[in-house]
């Protein structure tokens, strides 16, 4: 068993999830490929969205992959960092907006 939860080399083994459930994995990887293909959004735009989401879900594999992908597309360092701030702002905002729920509850319970 590994001594750490994450190993950068595991990213390259992603395809191996197919070994235990080929049909679902096949569907996932096909869908994944289609999602990132050029469409109404460009592949470049999708890469920066993926970079932001990677930070929101705090997936180290995804951060490695989409930092590289962003560099490939020539996305600037400032753009990459702003994308991370967007992820952070949504995460922070998502906590803070629940403050209203807290306030509502507190007000309801209080005389």
């Amino acid at each position: 068993m590994e001594k750490t939860y994450y190993n950068p080399k595991d990213l390259k083994k992603f395809g191996e999830i197919e070994e235990w459930q080929p049909e679902l994995a096949k569907k996932f990887f096909e869908w994944y490929g289609d999602v990132f293909a050029e469409g109404a959004l460009t592949a470049r735009e999708k890469a920066i969205i993926a970079l932001a989401v990677s930070h929101a879900v705090q997936c180290p594999y995804c951060i490695d992959a989409y930092t590289t992908e962003s560099l490939k597309f020539g996305i600037s360092e400032a753009q990459m960092m702003e994308a991370v701030h967007v992820a952070g702002a949504i995460r922070g905002g998502a906590s803070l907006v629940h403050g209203v729920q807290m306030m509502n509850k507190a007000k309801k319970l209080s005389m």
Binding site: K12, A43, R44, L71, F73, G74, S76
Partner: protein, 351 residues
């Protein structure tokens, strides 16, 4: 300005040491397949030419720039320069063989004192196309080069220029301070004489290479971004963008090792091995010539000092088209750079 590996007496200035490095480690221990093995799996080993269409001449390693990624290890301290005598032999080869394209590279090819004479004489041979690979800044380096755009135009030269990015920060980090601004000035001078303009027959292509240990994005996507940014920011026009993958040779190899990216980068190249790109590798239709008249399968093999295999036709004095067209091409792990993804060559992506 950094110095060349040669001037620094760096161990990677030794071509043998580079080959040794690429032979051992992850490849020596069998963790990754060698390039020969990968070609073997698709029944393409030994690799053979499809027929020589491009005579690529490296007229010298001297350059006004010292780029961090340079596979030539070029720079102002490099004194290797092709003589006029060798150029005369090449002119005869062009006349006799009717190879359609002469492709001049370096270093900065314009720094060879016989450069203009060679271009003018080459044009007289009736060669279909003369390409000059210009680093752009040379045009602004000294008054004696200011007229180069006009000279290129008069001789119908196709200009292929390096511009690693459409923004200053990334360009200057790779190629040196001030390179971006000078490149923009040079591009404006080329545009002013008609290069890259719609309706013009004067072709100006740009070359992009990644600013680090990753593969280029799709050529068409980057071309679209380059065209938009250069037009909007500087009113610059050009024809095509060529994406080139950095090969693990000389200063880029030094960078990969020093930044601890070597193994991951090679792994990326090997995993992106594309049989279709292998079919289109440039060594199949190109012969590379060094300043001293020796011939190689490509400019990269030249930098590794791996001359073409036919012993009877290794120097331009003994140029024999038939034996060169029958030769076995020398391949090694650096070749993975040309077969990754959409492929890479001096003309950009190959598929």
């Amino acid at each position: 300005m950094i110095k060349s590996l040669k001037a620094r007496k760096h161990e990677l200035a030794s071509k043998e040491r580079q080959i040794e490095f690429l032979s051992n480690g992850i490849f020596g221990e069998g963790e990754l397949p060698t390039f020969k093995e990968s070609l073997g799996k698709i029944e393409m080993y030994p690799l053979r030419p499809s027929g020589i269409e491009i005579l690529q001449v490296n007229v010298g390693y001297m350059c006004n720039q010292v780029c961090k990624h340079c596979h030539v290890d070029a720079g102002p301290d490099r004194k290797e320069i092709m003589s006029r005598e060798h150029m005369e032999i090449l002119l005869n080869i062009l006349k006799q063989t009717k190879i359609p394209t002469l492709d001049l590279t370096g270093g900065a090819p314009e720094m060879n004192p016989n450069f203009r004479w060679f271009v003018e004489e080459a044009r007289k041979t009736g060669v279909d196309e003369i390409i000059v690979r210009s680093n752009l800044t040379i045009i602004r380096a000294n008054k004696k080069y200011y007229e180069l755009p006009e000279f290129f135009k008069e001789n119908g030269v196709r200009v292929v220029s390096s511009l690693p990015f459409y923004r200053k920060d990334k360009t200057d980090r790779q190629r040196g301070d001030g390179v971006f601004d000078k490149s923009i000035e040079a591009l404006k001078m080329l545009n002013a004489v008609g290069y890259g303009q719609p309706e013009s027959e004067l072709t100006l292509d740009l070359v992009y290479n990644p600013n680090g240990a990753y593969l280029p994005a799709a050529q068409a996507d980057l071309e679209r971004d380059f065209k938009k940014a250069l037009k909007e920011d500087f009113d610059i026009e050009f024809n095509s963008l060529f994406t080139i993958t950095n090969l693990p040779i000389a200063r880029f190899l030094e960078y990969l090792i020093a930044s601890d990216n070597y193994e991951d980068y090679m792994d990326t190249l090997v995993n992106a091995f594309n049989p279709a790109a292998a079919m289109g590798v440039m060594c199949r239709n190109t012969i590379s010539v060094d300043y001293d008249g020796y011939m190689y399968d490509c400019d990269f093999n030249q930098m590794l000092n791996k001359k073409v295999l036919p012993k009877e036709s290794r120097h331009i004095r003994d140029f024999d088209l038939e034996s060169l067209n029958r030769r076995e091409i020398f391949v090694h792990q650096h070749c993975y750079g040309c077969t990754a993804g959409a492929g890479s060559s001096c003309q950009g992506a190959t598929i």
